[in-house]
Each structure stands twice: as structure tokens, then as C-alpha cells.
């Protein structure tokens, strides 16, 4: 049986996987992808930024848990607010989030273009299923 990735398209000289890879390569060449890759590299090298983000996410989970349990989370909420301010002042993290946002906007736009032409939500149908979506 032919593996899916070797499946031929209407043009027998090119496989389905190849057209996907070519589109992927075109995305990699965009300024948005390159900016994100650079911001991601900087983030991975910056131990302080990684630690700060870890603390922020932990505090965020604690506040959510306190809310779910209907406990008084005033102190935790204040700590989260302080961490948010520190996070907003961190250049590595702000440029990482900014680059991520711009790349996601580009990918969303590309998906809309593809989905409109195919009349199916390409990314919506192919993303891995998690949690409530089953």
C-alpha cells in the first residue's frame, strides 16, 4: 500500500507531501517566521525570561484554581499582577509574544485563504483533537 505522504496529486510529478512542504518552505521564508524564529532563539537562551514566564504561568494557574474553589485569592491575584508588570518590562518576552502574535496572524490569514478556496476549514479539520473537543 502506498504511504499517504507518497500519494500522487493530479500532477504526477509532485506528491501531496511535497506541495505541503513547499508551502511550509514559503512560510519559513517570510519576515514574520524569521522574526519569530529569532525571538524564539533569544527566549531559549534567556534563562531569566524563561523563569519569569514559568512563575507567571504558575501564578495564573493558582489564581484560576482559587476562583474555581471560590477561595479568597486576593494575595495571589496581587502577585499575578506584579508578575505581569515584570513580564511586560522584559524585552525578551515582549518581543517573543509580539513575534508570535504576528506569525499567528499570518498563518490564520493563510488558512482562511486556503479554506475559502477549498470550502473546508483546513486547519480546523486537521488540528489535533484535545480536551473538550474530543
Amino acid at each position: 500500500m502506498m504511504h499517504e505522504s507518497q500519494r500522487q496529486t493530479a500532477d504526477p510529478s509532485i506528491s501531496l507531501c511535497e506541495v505541503g512542504e513547499k508551502l511550509g518552505a514559503a512560510i519559513v521564508a517570510t519576515a514574520e517566521y524569521q522574526a519569530f524564529a529569532e525571538a524564539d532563539r533569544r527566549f531559549r537562551r534567556d534563562a531569566q525570561a524563561r523563569e519569569l514566564l514559568g512563575k507567571y504561568q504558575e501564578a495564573q494557574q493558582t489564581v484560576q484554581l482559587m476562583q474555581q474553589l471560590r477561595n479568597d485569592g486576593t494575595e495571589e491575584a496581587r502577585r499575578l499582577e506584579d508578575l505581569q508588570k515584570t513580564l511586560e518590562a522584559n524585552k525578551t518576552l515582549t518581543s517573543y509574544f509580539d513575534a508570535q502574535q504576528k506569525l499567528v496572524a499570518l498563518l490564520t490569514e493563510l488558512n482562511q485563504f486556503i479554506s475559502e478556496r477549498l470550502n473546508v476549514d483546513f486547519a480546523g479539520l486537521t488540528k489535533p483533537r484535545t480536551g473538550c473537543c474530543g
Binding site: E4, L16, K22, I27, V104, L107, L110, L118, T126, K127
Partner: protein, 123 residues
Amino acid sequence: MLNIDLHHAAEPFIAAVRGLEEYNAYVKAETAFQSDPGLREIRKHFNERSTELQTKQATGTLTQEEIAELRGVQTSLNAHPVTTEYIHARQKIVATLQECNRGLSQELGFDFASAAAPPSCCG
């Protein structure tokens, strides 16, 4: 307006998918699923009964027979040959598109679909 290079790169991708047998089978099955008169009739009946029974449930007058009746309509909807054909065609096109997504994501180093999909109930 989509980046011109990406626009050009997306065209062969779209053309390749549109040329696939499973894509055309899906389009055909989807059209039938939406427009088949018999199926539309059952769907209309199901929606109407469902609304009626929700009202009855709210007032505490819903009976077991009515629940069984609604389940019966739902079963006939799901077992309708047009529905089963549609589900089958959809499963096949989803599997193919997932393969395309894998090829694309391999280049990116992360899952394209997860990043580009519109927000769902899972965010």
C-alpha cells in the same frame, strides 16, 4: 491581503488538494448531505421535535416515550445512506488533509493547524 509569495505558494497546494479523488468525493457527498430532500425532511422533523421536547423538559412533562421517539429520529438521521456516505467521505478527506498538514508542519517545526485554526471551545 495575503503576502504575495505565500499567495503564490498556496495556489499549487490548493490545486493539488482540489485534484484529489477524495476531495471531489467529499464535495459531492457534502452537497448531497445538505440538499437531499429525504434527509432534509428528517432533519427538519428532528429539529422541531427537539425544540418541542426541550420545552417539555423545562416544564417537567417530558416522557420516556418521547425521549425514545427523538432518539429514533436521530438514529434514522445517522443511519441514512446519504449521512453515512458523507461521514465516510469526510473521514477520508480529513485523513488526507492531516497528511498535508504534517508535511507543512515539518518545515515549520510546529503544528501549522494548531497555530492557524480559528478558536474553538478549547481556545
